[in-house]
């Protein structure tokens, strides 16, 4: 029962172009969404988050879009850089209970110079 789904295991993008990573969720109680970036042999690092009261949040080259009716969010990276090559995890938190994060399986992004 996967509540957070990242259906693309991998994505390749040319340097300078836009990277779009997608995430779908099934639990309507989720009201906070986060993206993490993970390099090999390191722990995940927090990238950007969005509350369900918003539909967009920007931080530099990174923008997260939330479509609540479709239960879908996406992370846009513009322009993509080789250093962005990593695994990106989508995570969600519910407004009830202990607010634990539920993670997707991740998407491996490769930015080709």
């Amino acid at each position: 029962d996967q509540q957070v789904k990242q259906n693309s295991p991998s994505l390749s993008v040319q340097e300078g172009r836009i990277s779009i990573l997608n995430c779908d969720y099934t639990n309507s109680m989720f009201d906070y969404f986060l993206w993490y970036k993970k390099y090999p042999a390191e722990g995940p690092t927090f990238l950007i988050s969005i509350s369900s009261i918003k539909d967009k949040n920007e931080d530099g080259r990174f923008t997260v879009f939330l479509n609540k009716s479709a239960k879908h969010l996406s992370l846009h990276i513009v322009p993509s850089q080789p250093g962005d090559s990593a695994v990106y995890f989508c995570a969600a938190s519910a407004r009830s209970g202990s607010y634990q994060l539920t993670f997707g399986k991740g998407t491996k992004l490769s930015v080709i110079p």
Partner: protein, 114 residues
């Protein structure tokens, strides 16, 4: 500025052995978590703690135990190791629920049970 420190980084255990994965944070965070990541999978929550003396089960707690005697430390104990516990283990912490600023993760412990 150490953040979250996990030891050891690698370990090979034999079936039936036990061990403790250490986790310590120096950010005075109240919330701490243990996750495991299996190949090609997302992170799954094992146990978490909202403060010293308080722990609770996550999604996959079987075969593990935790304690939280201080704010800084949150060790994870494996009793009677099994091959199904072969995984990468991540400890994390957050100042509150971590919903808007996220968690700070350690660099992980790669455990192999043979």
């Amino acid at each position: 500025n150490a953040g979250v420190t996990q030891t050891p980084k690698f370990r090979i255990l034999k079936i039936g052995q036990s061990m403790t994965l250490q986790c310590t944070q120096d950010m005075n965070h109240n919330y701490m978590y243990w996750y495991r990541q299996d190949p090609g999978m997302g992170l799954k929550l094992i146990y978490y703690s909202v403060g010293a003396g308080i722990t609770d089960k996550g999604e996959v707690p079987n075969g593990y135990n935790v304690s939280r005697s201080t704010t800084e430390d949150f060790p994870l104990r494996l009793e009677l190791a099994a091959p199904s516990q072969t995984s990468v283990y991540f400890c994390a912490s957050s100042s509150s629920t971590g919903r808007n600023y996220g968690y700070t993760f350690g660099s992980g412990t790669r455990l192999t049970v043979v």
